[in-house]
């Protein structure tokens, strides 16, 4: 249980030449993917799943972690130089970052983003190393009822909180659960949803599902809506910062980290909310309020630190509980399963060396990213000149290759296309993809816990509430589900309570603030149907 010595063992594993090589490949790929339009870390990890099946799990996860962190670094580059935030987590960075770049301070914006990401990532990873074992200690004491409740919470939180339409989130979740049902029932050996098709008996390979939804669906969707307006990268030299920039950056970095980590660790917390909170906080605390909206360095430093700390936070529930809270983590969880590794609280004891090597590699990856991002930023920007036909044809090519190589069956490619079309349709009609993926991955595990729970209570539904933690979790679930209705009620009653005046006004703008996150400059996020 000694964190320090385990971590040192982890470093010993992660620093072997082979694993170090995979860390380097991971961060290079991750940065490239973050910079390139249309590719994200989730899609990349999904595309690599089949290829890495032949690798040591440790090496594969070291590479995946590099991709995840690298994507966060790379995303900030396009936000600043092009004002096109690829990931929702760097939307806020673009607000001040692009203004700075336009004012000729691109080098400083990139520098504060990179150094802030490094610091936040390092602190976040340290917090992960400290907290994950504590969470595990707590989690191993939980029985099936609590575990069932927590997984239900994770699913519902992601479904109900993210995205603009809860209804569409649930539709996506239900589809995912249905896909997860396909195959032999593990308890009774019954065939479910196989329609007499022997190739479906083993269920749909999660690799194929992930590749279809993230890669094929996305490539087809982007192909249908290719942007035709060419942009110009704001030319930039080597990123650097002056003394004054350091002075203005370090506090936002730390505050951003403090926002990012806990939100990353929460189901459905994600990176969007903490980046936004960080931005608002910096705007309030700054000594240079006149610069906000015109390129204030605090507005880049804080949010960038927040999104990297959130990335580290995400790893906590993933490693300690086997709960993914965003798309990349979901695909990494799929990777655990495809290696036959059981994710969950037992992971730390059963796969201790792997987990600690992974955590150590996060420290290493962060450092590597700082090294390759500071001097190479102009080179990364060149990637943006890659013609789109090659980019998207390449995605389809590698998606096909990967899905086919899992079982060497052309049938898998048919499934790939069908689910790819589903992914396209979901993007077209605003169904979020994350609930679907979580449904596919967590569905079977939830069912397992449910059956275990009721087996213990001999079929009595009261068994679901037999542990205090489970009850607490159900109360939270209830609050999440009922919250919007309460919210609506309060709103409806507002005009009546008009005499409260100004305070009402401020409360309302507070509540609406997430919608304003994209408002100052970015156009990628449009809000629909304001209630």
């Amino acid at each position: 249980m000694d964190v320090w010595s385990s971590l040192m063992d982890g470093f010993a594993t992660a620093l072997t030449p082979m694993n170090l090589l995979f860390a380097v490949i991971g961060v290079l790929l991750g940065t490239a993917v973050g910079v390139l339009p249309g590719l994200g870390p989730a899609m990349t990890v999904a595309l690599l799943l089949p290829v890495t099946a032949a690798l040591e799990p440790t090496s594969a996860f070291i590479m995946f972690a590099g991709i995840y962190y690298g994507g966060m670094f790379g995303g900030s580059t396009t936000s600043i130089l092009l004002n096109t935030p690829g990931e929702s987590s760097s939307v806020v960075t673009a607000i001040e970052g692009n203004k700075m770049a336009k004012a000729g301070r691109a080098a400083q914006a990139l520098a504060t983003a990179a150094i802030g990401s490094f610091i936040a990532g390092t602190i976040g990873t340290a917090l992960l190393a400290v907290f994950a074992p504590i969470v595990v200690q707590f989690a191993v004491s939980l029985g099936a009822p609590s575990y069932f409740a927590i997984m239900v919470l994770a699913l519902l939180a992601v479904t109900a909180v993210l995205g603009s339409s809860r209804l569409r989130g649930f539709a996506s979740l239900a589809l995912g659960l249905a896909i997860g049902l396909v195959g032999i029932d593990s308890v009774t050996g019954q065939r479910r949803l196989t329609f007499g098709q022997p190739l479906l008996v083993d269920g749909l390979d999660i690799v194929v599902v992930a590749v279809a939804i993230f890669a094929v669906g996305e490539a087809l969707w982007v192909a249908a809506h290719l942007r035709r307006t060419p942009l110009h990268v704001i030319p930039v030299g080597r990123p650097w910062m002056g003394k004054k920039d350091w002075g203005r950056s370090w506090k936002p970095w730390l505050r951003g980290t403090a926002f990012g980590f806990p939100f990353g660790a929460l189901p459905a917390g994600g990176a969007e909310i903490p980046t936004f909170l960080s931005y608002v906080t910096e705007k309030r605390l700054t000594k240079h309020p006149e610069e906000f909206g015109k390129g204030a360095i605090e507005g880049v430093a804080g949010p960038e630190a927040a999104n990297n700390a959130a990335a580290a936070g995400t790893m906590t529930p993933l490693l300690a509980l086997g709960l993914p809270t965003n798309a990349t983590a979901a695909v990494m969880l799929a990777a655990f399963t495809s290696y036959g590794i059981q994710p969950g609280p037992q992971l730390f004891s059963s796969q201790g060396p792997l987990v600690w090597a992974l955590i150590a590699s996060l420290f290493i990856g962060n450092f590597l990213l700082l090294l390759i991002n500071l001097p190479l930023a102009p080179v990364w920007a060149k990637l943006l000149q890659l013609p789109r036909p090659y980019l998207y044809a390449g995605i389809l090519f590698f998606a096909t290759l990967g899905a086919y190589s899992v079982n060497l069956q052309a049938f898998d490619l048919v499934i790939l296309l069908v689910l790819g079309a589903l992914g396209f349709m979901m993007r077209r009609f605003g169904l979020p993809v994350l609930p679907l993926i979580l449904g596919v991955i967590l569905g079977p595990r939830i069912e397992g816990q449910l059956r275990k729970t009721l087996q213990l209570s001999a079929g009595d539904p009261a068994g679901l509430f037999s542990e205090p933690i489970a009850i607490v979790v159900y109360i939270i679930v209830a609050i999440i589900l009922v919250w919007p209705f309460i919210f609506k009620l309060i709103r409806r009653n507002r005009p009546v309570a008009a005499f409260t005046g100004p305070s009402e006004q401020s409360a309302r703008s507070e509540a609406e603030s997430p919608a304003q996150a994209g408002d100052p400059t970015t156009t990628t996020h449009q809000k629909q149907e304001k209630p």
């Binding site: 339009p37 249309g38 032949a54 396009t78 096109t84 690829g86 339409s165 209804l167 569409r168 539709a171 979740l173 239900a174 589809l175 249905a178 049902l181 029932d185 009774t188 019954q190 479910r192 329609f195 094929v216 490539a219 087809l220 969707w221 982007v222 192909a223 249908a224 809506h225 290719l226 942007r227 789109r388 036909p389 090659y390 044809a393 390449g394 389809l396 090519f397 096909t400 290759l401 086919y404 190589s405 060497l408 052309a410 490619l413 296309l417 079309a421 349709m425 077209r428 009609f429 605003g430 169904l431 569905g443 059956r451 087996q455 001999a458 079929g459 990628t524 449009q526 629909q528 149907e529």
Partner: protein
């Protein structure tokens, strides 16, 4: 004209509701068809969760249909490289899907090197590149590289198909 177009678009989203409903009914029928004796060790059985899922699907289908009919609309997903200002460009998507299907048909018979070349070259073409020679060379190179890369690096033998014996 535009009112007809928006009317059609609204109806297109009803297709999503229909899909959800159909999947929901399928899941229900499939679960209903399972025969399981009650067992003390597994009181939940293999049917319960499918029933819940099918219920969720059907409820979502109905609510979505109501939502769409009342003018609700899903927000299409944006992105760095996505321009939602123009409608879906089927002239790109359908040939792309065509290249994909061609690959499925060819892969077992003609082998990966040929089918992969067709896939990449066809996709690049569908996406609007017109440098036929360069694209062709890249396609062949990619397919060959991945074929040997998978064989030598990962020990996965992709089908050689028609080129069996040459590769």
């Amino acid at each position: 004209m535009s009112s007809i177009a928006t009317g059609l678009k609204g109806r297109a989203e009803l297709g999503v509701a229909l899909l959800l409903g159909v999947v929901g009914v399928l899941v229900f029928l499939d679960a209903n068809g399972l025969v399981t004796p009650y067992s003390q060790s597994d009181p939940v059985g293999p049917k319960t969760v499918p029933f819940i899922v099918s219920g969720l699907l059907i409820i979502c289908a109905v609510l979505l249909a109501i939502n769409v009919l009342r003018g609700g609309k899903g927000e299409a997903e944006g992105g760095e490289d996505v321009d939602l200002a123009h409608p879906a460009d089927w002239k790109t998507v359908l040939p792309l899907a065509g290249a994909f299907i061609l690959n499925i048909l060819l892969i077992d018979w003609a082998g990966w090197v040929i089918s992969g070349t067709v896939l990449f070259w066809g996709s690049v073409l569908a996406l609007g590149s017109r440098r036929y020679i360069r694209d062709g060379l890249i396609s062949v190179a990619l397919s060959l590289l991945t074929f040997y890369g998978f064989y030598l690096g990962l020990g996965i033998a992709l089908p050689a198909g028609l080129l069996e014996g040459i590769l």
